[in-house]
């Protein structure tokens, strides 16, 4: 979706994508076919949101691109470890490779953070990854699988927006807006991807638009574009915003 909606960001992102994909082909490609994983556009979501958030709040920095690279890797790693077969007697080889590939990409994430001098981001990423895995454990033992998955995805998106924004500005008010926007956008995107009805999550729809309204720069139209695209799918309009509601 982002690829279609944000063509202007794609060229900037392509170098990052090429670098990560080269690493994966080189290290994992010899073990199994990684093409379908690398061609899956869902892995562009978080890194592009990271760049977009920095652009919206101020402008991109080298740090923004480095963070986008890390989010791109995180998307791959979490996919590999997201859901493994429980009976590995039948699919032992694939399973082995998925586990090891995921481990290698996670370790690359941590190495990159340290190598790029992104030390202040080490704790947020460790916290994000531990929280994500904690929720996935609960998901596996719960009957409401979807709820956990939606929340995990929301935390990832929230972090992509917040950390992306923080690479460009340290205005905490703006960053909090991005953070909240990211969380609700993650819920919407997850519901959208699962082809589910928006009714249950309408408050996130409302919240996203409210937060967009709080963004003062003209570049907020990028976020509006994403929301409108989803709205068309669900056949819902932009809601009445906070300011209008108060009036």
């Amino acid at each position: 979706m982002l690829k279609i909606l944000m063509p202007d960001i794609m060229p900037e992102f392509m170098a990052i994508e090429a670098k990560n994909n080269h690493f994966i082909k080189l290290n994992i490609g010899k073990l199994h076919d990684v093409r379908s994983m690398l061609e899956n556009e869902k892995h562009l979501w978080m890194p592009l949101l990271c760049i977009l958030s920095a652009k919206i709040i101020k402008d991109v920095t080298i740090k923004t691109y480095q963070l986008a690279e890390i989010f791109h890797l995180l998307s791959y790693a979490s996919q590999l470890h997201w859901s493994l077969p429980e009976n590995n007697k039948d699919s032992k080889e694939d399973m082995k490779i998925d586990v090891l590939s995921g481990d290698l990409i996670y370790s690359r994430i941590y190495s990159n953070i340290c190598q790029y001098g992104l030390q202040p981001y080490l704790l947020p990423f460790s916290n994000l990854i531990s929280a994500m895995n904690e929720s996935l454990i609960l998901r596996d033992f719960s009957r409401e699988n979807d709820d956990y998955e939606i929340r995990v995805f929301a935390s990832l998106t929230e972090s992509a927006c917040y950390l992306g924004g923080s690479s460009a500005s340290n205005n905490q008010l703006d960053l909090n807006v991005l953070k909240e926007f990211g969380y609700h956008l993650g819920i919407l995107k997850s519901v959208y991807d699962k082809g589910k009805n928006i009714d249950e999550h309408y408050s996130s729809w409302q919240n996203c638009w409210d937060r967009v309204e709080e963004i003062k720069t003209s570049k907020r139209h990028c976020f509006e574009k994403i929301l409108r695209h989803m709205g068309e799918e669900w056949e819902i309009d932009k809601p009445v915003l906070i300011q209008e509601r108060v009036i």
């Binding site: 090891l100 290698l104 460790s126 990854i129």
Partner: protein, 340 residues
């Protein structure tokens, strides 16, 4: 690694420990090791009950706490205190590698007990491993030492590469010793190296000592893993804590087999190769291969290599300040040294 003979090298005057087990050398840090266990328990106190259950099961399943012990000992070369979180991190990283290994190998047992993946499932084990590794990094980050965090990240990457190398070389019978040693370094030695360096760095030891301890850890780790690989051909199930011949059945090619295939009797080698190329290796065939390897010089050669690494480790010990910890390190290195 018990029943070692006293060594007769020039350092003989330092030795007084035949028939000793590595854990017996940790007497002076028993209290600190108990603190490590407490810290580990606390590290998941905020987590959900599922994580706590699995993690407590792992803690109670035993383990010698060798890695945190190395970190604690290494911290004696500096003056700052509170190395417990760093030492606990080393155990966490080791635990993660074991949890994920058990999923990869589809192992049902570890140290004679059911593995986590066997009890709770593969997904649980993988997520718990990822959770614990992220926690380990958060703990290390609290030291605000960029070199330390970088070393941990580098180590985890090398460990993964070692595992990937092992998988891509599974059942590859044309391996050479150099390639095997690279793998041993990545699989085991890098983490042991990190344990020593971390203790020294956290305690504020001088850089020369940090480097010497790092080299000592590297040589010790090499000796440790090669000796462990030898055990697969010489020990029984009780000693191993896993079925005999597990490595062979998993297609893992280690030094005794590499040596045997290169220098063993031609007809025996061909027979072993024929067996290993089959889809599955039976228990009887494992016994047969073990026997063939034992009667060749493969075990002696492997021990020779272990000895060489032990001597290199001892050479590093000689560079350290003379104190009780240095003496413990000397004894640890000598545990792996065995006379012909």
């Amino acid at each position: 690694m018990g029943n070692r003979q006293a060594c007769t090298n020039p350092r003989k005057s330092h030795i007084a420990f035949p028939n000793i087990h590595i854990r017996e050398l940790f007497g002076s840090i028993e209290a600190e090791l108990a603190d490590v266990d407490d810290y580990l328990q606390k590290s998941v106190s905020q987590a959900n009950y599922l994580i706590k259950d699995g993690f407590n099961y792992l803690l109670q399943a035993g383990g010698k706490r060798i890695r945190p012990a190395f970190t604690l000992f290494a911290s004696h070369y500096g003056s700052k205190t509170s190395c417990i979180p760093a030492a606990s991190t080393m155990e966490l990283v080791h635990m993660v590698s074991l949890i994920h290994d058990d999923v990869i190998d589809a192992s049902d047992l570890r140290r004679g007990k059911a593995t986590l993946s066997n009890l709770y499932g593969n997904n649980y084990a993988i997520h718990l491993g990822d959770y614990l590794f992220a926690k380990a990094l958060a703990v290390i980050d609290s030291y605000q030492n960029t070199a330390l965090s970088g070393k941990l990240a580098y180590t985890s990457r090398e460990m993964c590469r070692g595992e990937i190398e092992q998988i891509s070389n599974e059942l590859c019978l044309q391996q050479n010793i150099k390639r095997y040693l690279y793998r041993v370094n990545r699989k085991t030695s890098v983490l042991i190296t990190l344990c020593f360096e971390t203790g020294a760095l956290v305690s504020g030891a001088n850089q020369e000592v940090v480097n010497t301890l790092g080299r000592f850890g590297h040589y010790l780790g090499m000796a440790f893993q090669i000796a462990d690989d030898m055990l697969n051909y010489t020990a029984d199930e009780q000693t191993l804590g896993k079925p005999v011949g597990n490595d062979l059945q998993q297609g893992v090619v280690t030094l005794p087999l590499i040596y045997f295939l290169k220098y063993g009797k031609t007809e025996l080698c061909q027979d072993v190769k024929r067996i290993l190329k089959k889809e599955t290796v039976t228990t009887d065939e494992v016994v047969y291969i073990n026997q063939a390897i034992r009667v060749s010089k493969a075990i002696e050669y492997s021990q020779e290599l272990v000895n060489r690494y032990a001597i290199k480790a001892l050479q590093q010990v000689d560079k350290l300040p003379d104190n009780k910890t240095t003496e413990v390190f000397r004894q640890i290195a000598l545990l792996y040294y065995q006379e012909k």
